[in-house]
């Protein structure tokens, strides 16, 4: 059946990875299961498997990134890809080249897969619509739209510590308005049948239609944290703030920062997550970040396996190449 969703091929398998919205539970579970089988690769003498051998992956970061970019690069290298990483904000686009020209020039270098981070929402879709057949695009964060691999590594982390989603209460706290991570997480949590998804934020940092995403909204952190199993703190995106959305950082911490004291309102075995980079003392107290319930560094490690899983599913299923039978 032909699919109108450009992320999927005619057989419903992944061809691009652009957003969680538009995917289904089977694909999300397949990503999580596949990621699990990749975790053991990191324990070997040779931390590499040959799945992307001979393929070239270009990492185009139009926006700064440390964790996402380095874990993508490691994932690609552990799959044996040849990689090309460009900081585009310091290169040709600054000289006035259009996005499409950049893309076409790179395609002329026989790139098989693009990993793209861009400040404009929808840019990954734009790329996917314009690449040649057989070339795939992965979204590493587009504007305020989605950051699907981050959401999947978060789902992997939750499943690793908590197993069954249907009995969980998950709270996402902070700057929902500017957060592509939150948007992807909410779609993923809903697709995986999470018991309850709460978003906790001041009204000024909530999108107007938040309730329509199928979440419960809390403007009071202490009420929102009551009895939750998972707390996902979001970074206060100071660089995206336009206008007076907040009184001050100090005031924000006083009302929405995660302190030891507030953490006690959640279940005793609740885990604390953060996509990074974290502002210590703004959205999260230092001692919580380094505390026993924090799984923030584990999220980073899981990110490598999850990114390996997505890339190998794209190569293995839609078939970047086609050949005769063996």
């Amino acid at each position: 059946m032909p699919s109108s969703n450009i992320q999927l091929d005619d057989n419903g398998k992944l061809r691009h990875f652009l957003s969680i919205e538009g995917l289904n539970r089977e694909i999300l579970n397949e990503i999580l299961d596949t990621a699990e089988s990749f975790t053991s690769v990191a324990d070997r003498t040779i931390k590499k498997v040959p799945i992307l051998r001979g393929k070239t992956v270009a990492n185009l970061f139009f926006e700064a990134s440390t964790r996402t970019r380095s874990t993508f690069e490691l994932a690609e290298q552990r799959l044996s890809a040849d990689i090309l990483s460009l900081n585009v904000d310091t290169s040709a686009t600054v000289k006035g080249e259009s996005l499409l020209d950049t893309l076409q020039n790179l395609e002329a270098m026989q790139i098989d897969m693009f990993v793209i981070r861009h400040q404009d929402s929808g840019s990954a879709y734009f790329f996917a619509q314009h690449v040649r057949p057989g070339v795939s695009v992965l979204n590493a964060g587009d504007g305020q739209h989605e950051h699907p691999t981050q959401a999947m590594l978060d789902m992997y982390t939750i499943r690793h510590y908590k197993q069954d989603f249907s009995s969980l209460r998950v709270a996402i706290v902070g700057d929902i308005l500017h957060s592509r991570v939150a948007r992807s997480q909410i779609h993923a949590l809903n697709l995986l049948n999470t018991g309850e998804v709460r978003v906790i934020a001041p009204r000024t940092l909530l999108p107007v239609d938040t309730e329509s995403l199928g979440v419960s909204v809390y403007e009071d952190l202490e009420k929102g944290l009551d009895g939750v199993d998972v707390i996902i703190m979001l970074r206060l995106q100071k660089e995206r703030m336009r206008g007076a959305l907040l009184p001050s950082e100090k005031e924000y911490f006083r009302k929405f920062g995660l302190s030891q004291e507030r953490l006690r309102l959640a279940k005793p075995d609740a885990i604390v997550m953060h996509p990074g980079p974290a502002n210590r003392g703004v959205e999260i107290e230092s001692s919580v970040m380094d505390g026993a319930q924090s799984v923030i560094l584990q999220q980073v490690s899981f990110g490598i396996s999850v990114r390996m899983a997505v890339m190998s599913m794209i190569v293995g299923q839609s078939g970047l190449q086609s050949g005769a039978d063996a």
Binding site: S37, V41, T45, V49, V315, G316, S322
Partner: protein, 170 residues
């Protein structure tokens, strides 16, 4: 056609492999290829080295037809129980045909370390090699016409079955 009993073939392989276990200070590591090879490897382990742990290889990351077949996340990931450097590995699979699976398995083994020696034990050798790979220990050699498919079903009971590929959609 009548197929041999798995029990008898495992017994034959056990006899043939017994001398490999004669030296108590350097015991070989038994490694099966998922899924059928692991079942046979487990039978051999129980008979030859009941105290040892089994290694298992899921070679889907190493297949030369990966881009067409993809991954099977339902198959367990690879795990080798010990450091394999300077050890003898008894690599076990159910059916040997093209030899491509064995090649992929050996590529994977070398990503875990440098074994002293690898020997190949196979339940059924049905010929039709596409690359120069031969087994050191064979349960039985069968001549089948290339349109039929032989498969080990299990794990309990273990049983060999044949299917004709003409009415077998894969």
């Amino acid at each position: 056609m009548s197929l041999p009993s798995v029990e008898a073939l495992v017994e034959k392989l056990t006899q043939a492999l017994t001398p490999c276990f004669s030296s108590p200070e350097s015991q070989p590591v038994i490694v099966g290829i998922e899924t059928g090879g692991v079942w046979i490897a487990e039978q051999l382990r129980q008979r030859l080295a009941p105290g040892a742990e089994l290694g298992r290889l899921n070679i889907s990351f190493y297949r030369d037809d990966f881009t067409r077949k993809g991954l099977h996340p339902t198959v367990k990931p690879s795990s080798l129980p010990t450091d394999i450097d300077d050890r003898t590995i008894i690599l076990v699979d159910d059916v040997l045909q093209s030899g491509r699976t064995v090649r992929a398995a050996m590529n994977e083994i070398f990503d875990y370390g440098r074994p002293k020696k690898i020997v190949l034990a196979i339940l059924i050798d049905r010929g039709e090699r596409e690359i120069p790979v031969q087994a050191d220990f064979v349960g039985a050699t069968l001549q089948l016409d290339s349109a039929s498919h032989i498969k080990l079903e299990g794990p309990d009971p273990l049983k060999l079955v044949t299917k004709s590929l003409e009415n077998h959609a894969e």
